[in-house]
């Protein structure tokens, strides 16, 4: 459980795309471990199937797709920050403190998922490239999945598969769009997307 969070935080400070994807995969792997533990504790019928599809979609497929999309347009692997890594770690630390506080105030909200959702949102804000936004979204999704596992004891099999399928389709679409952005603007920087303002 701690691993999911630890790797997610380490990921925040990584300036290069491959490293970021590696830590995202590790973080998701820990989440899959959490799912196995939880379903063994609840005595589910298929403890390993759900975890296996989780591993397949989030640990293997999602990073591969993103890497493939980035390689295809020769995107620069070094990504831009609004905040430098040290400052990012500091903000992440603050978020952890806030999550502790919130989860103590509200009994219905587990620490891990609040922290992951907030970290995902922060990640989407402090980075200014397309790939980080996708990864931030997936981190948020991990947080929601963690909420499902911790509070509800996991989803029914079909629903879990459906949710994963939808999330991965979203990631594929985002990757496709980011490729078009790269082709049009020759950069993955979200600051170039400013045409539609009032």
């Amino acid at each position: 459980m701690g691993g999911t969070l630890l790797f997610a935080i380490v990921m925040m400070g990584k300036p290069r795309l491959p490293a970021m994807l590696r830590y995202f995969a590790l973080s998701s792997l820990c989440l899959a471990g959490l799912i196995v533990t939880s379903s063994l504790m609840h005595g589910e019928e298929q403890p390993y199937t759900i975890a296996a599809i989780n591993v397949f979609f989030k640990v293997i497929l999602a990073p591969l797709i993103l890497m493939f999309a980035a390689k295809k347009v020769h995107a620069s692997m070094a990504l831009k920050f609004y905040l430098r890594p040290t400052a990012t770690y500091f903000v992440a630390l603050l978020i952890l403190l806030v999550s502790v506080f919130v989860s103590m105030k509200m009994p219905g909200a587990p620490y891990l998922s609040i922290a992951l959702v907030l970290l995902g949102l922060m990640f989407m804000i402090v980075r200014k490239d397309l790939y980080s936004q996708i990864i931030g979204f997936m981190t948020m999704e991990n947080g929601i999945a963690a909420y499902g596992v911790l509070m509800i004891g996991g989803f029914p099999f079909m629903i879990e598969t459906g949710i994963l399928f939808v999330v991965i389709t979203g990631a594929v679409l985002m990757a496709v769009l980011s490729r078009h952005v790269q082709e049009l603007y020759a950069t993955g920087d979200t600051e170039s997307l400013t045409e539609l303002t009032e």
Binding site: Q133, M140, M151, G162, T169, L173, M174
Partner: protein, 503 residues
């Protein structure tokens, strides 16, 4: 019954099986007639049967509940569901008819390649399918998947033209809507958790129907928190104001028939989902004051902010998109005003769907003939394209609620109920509404009558032909007027009251 949902899968597949561009359009039309015909018929049979015999008739039970497949996941459990299904299928049919003309024209002018046409007719049926599932869904997980499905299937449609602005709009759309729906998932799971706490088992706790039976046992604070998450999350899809920023971009960059679907029905579907959770929260809290205040606040804010953005429109499709924000705001305001407000909301959603989709179809015609979406670029339309111009003017009159249009009835009810419970806010609302009416009329006048200095001669020469889209729009406007008159009669009002109470 749910077997009919497969029609939409066949429709999507047919886009890949057909070979030429014409075959693709014709097969899409065939499946649209089949699919929407089936669901329109079902909802007509069901609504009329249910009105006549009450809800728990054996007829309905045999026909609809004997359907064993996925019994727990999808459920057609109220008038309101069938009402929404009727709206979706009607707009689907009209949108596909308009697309046959619109996409045909675009591909003739080489704006779209064959692959794009395929993609278009692949995504649209899937989009309709996910909206229908979102309406039927009883299982909260299925509901979430369907809502996210509506975002994913339309993203590629927003990005269809592969221009800078449309790619940017699509990126904003997918990121904001996905994050919004992700946030609503937290709220949904909190509801499920409350259900588990109150003693339901894991399968029952995901079911909306069984959650609703258990509301008395839920912890109040947890449900309030969950509703806030759901309001913010699904409010993003509805287009309530702080979360609306994706809406004008996405709705103005898609091909016009899809804009009509997005503005006309998708917003209504999202609003319907939000309403269901409002009612769940209300029955937990025991009264509806808390949620009413939230809805009135978001609704009023949406109308007022939309009024300011409509003041200086540069792009007529954007103007229509902001008008959708305004109408969703009105519906939000109405949903906070008790039973009369709910009645107004139900009537409002029918006429908003009809009028807004008619307007977007005519906007598509204007775009085809004038090649620009800028208001300043379209001048003297009354001379250049008299049929389109007349229909556009009629549509604008309908959307700003000039009396024969049914929107007048609903807004009249809304203001009446509003003046009783929140008089000052209603006055602000009225001011904003008149601002919107005047600025929309002003832009329309510029488009229709402003004389442009050079080149009037050659464009006046050729006369406009009557097209398929015009026929569709005329049908819609006739429906708006006829239903608008009918809706003032007691029988029809009773029917709408039954629908609005059944949600």
């Amino acid at each position: 019954m749910f077997i009919f949902l497969n029609i939409f899968l066949f429709a999507a597949a047919s886009a890949f099986l057909a070979r030429t561009e014409k075959q693709i359009r014709m097969s899409a039309l065939f499946f649209a007639v089949l699919g929407s015909g089936a669901f329109l018929l079902l909802s007509a049979v069901f609504l009329s049967g249910a009105f006549r015999y009450g809800w728990n008739v054996p007829f309905a039970a045999n026909w609809f509940y004997a359907d064993r497949m996925n019994l727990d996941w999808l459920r057609a459990s109220s008038y309101y569901v069938w009402f929404m299904v009727a709206l979706i299928s009607f707009t689907y049919l009209t949108a596909i008819i308009a697309s046959v003309r619109y996409i045909g024209e675009e591909s003739r002018e080489h704006l779209l390649t064959l692959d794009k046409v395929r993609l278009y007719f692949f995504c649209v049926p899937l989009f309709i399918l996910s909206m229908l599932i979102a309406v039927f869904a009883d299982h909260l997980g299925v509901l979430w998947i369907a809502l996210e499905g509506t975002t994913l299937t339309t993203t590629l449609l927003v990005a269809l033209y592969r221009k800078d602005a449309s790619i940017e709009a699509a990126w904003k759309f997918i990121i904001l809507c996905s994050v919004g729906i992700g946030i609503s998932m937290i709220g949904l799971l909190m509801m499920v958790h409350a259900g588990l706490e109150s003693g339901l088992d894991v399968f029952k706790a995901f079911s909306y129907a069984s959650l609703r039976e258990q509301t008395g046992l839920f912890p109040v604070d947890a449900v309030k928190l969950a509703f806030v998450f759901i309001l913010v999350g699904i409010g993003t899809k509805v287009g309530f104001v702080p979360m609306h920023t994706w809406l004008p971009d996405a709705h103005s960059k898609t091909p016009s028939p899809v804009s009509a679907l997005l503005s006309g029905v998708l917003l209504n579907v999202a609003f319907f989902v939000l309403l269901r959770f409002k009612i769940l929260t209300d029955s937990t809290l025991g009264d509806s004051t808390w949620t009413d205040h939230l809805m009135i606040g978001f609704g009023l804010l949406s109308v007022v902010v939309a009024a300011f953005f409509i003041l200086q429109p540069r792009n007529y499709k954007r103007m229509l998109a902001y008008s959708s924000v305004e109408h969703m705001g009105l519906m939000g305001f109405a949903s906070g005003l008790g039973p009369v407000g709910m009645l107004a909301l139900t009537i409002h959603s029918v006429f908003h769907t009809l009028a807004k989709s008619a307007l977007f179809f005519t906007a598509g015609e204007i775009l085809l003939s004038q090649k620009t979406t800028k208001i300043s670029g379209v001048k003297n339309l009354m001379k250049k394209a008299p049929i389109t111009a007349t229909l556009f003017a009629l549509g604008i009159l309908a959307i700003i609620a000039i009396p024969p249009s049914g929107l007048f009835t609903s807004e009249f009810m809304l203001v009446g109920a509003g003046l009783l419970s929140v008089p000052w806010l209603t006055i602000v609302l009225l001011l904003a509404l008149s601002m919107i009416a005047f600025s929309m009329l002003k832009s329309t006048m510029i488009m229709l009558y402003a004389v442009d200095e050079e080149g009037t001669q050659e464009s006046v020469d050729h006369t406009e032909r009557f097209t398929l889209t015009h026929a569709v729009v005329i049908t819609q406007i006739v429906l708006i007027v006829l239903l608008g008159l009918l809706v003032t009669t007691p029988t029809v009002q009773n029917a709408f009251t039954l629908i609005s109470q059944s949600i």
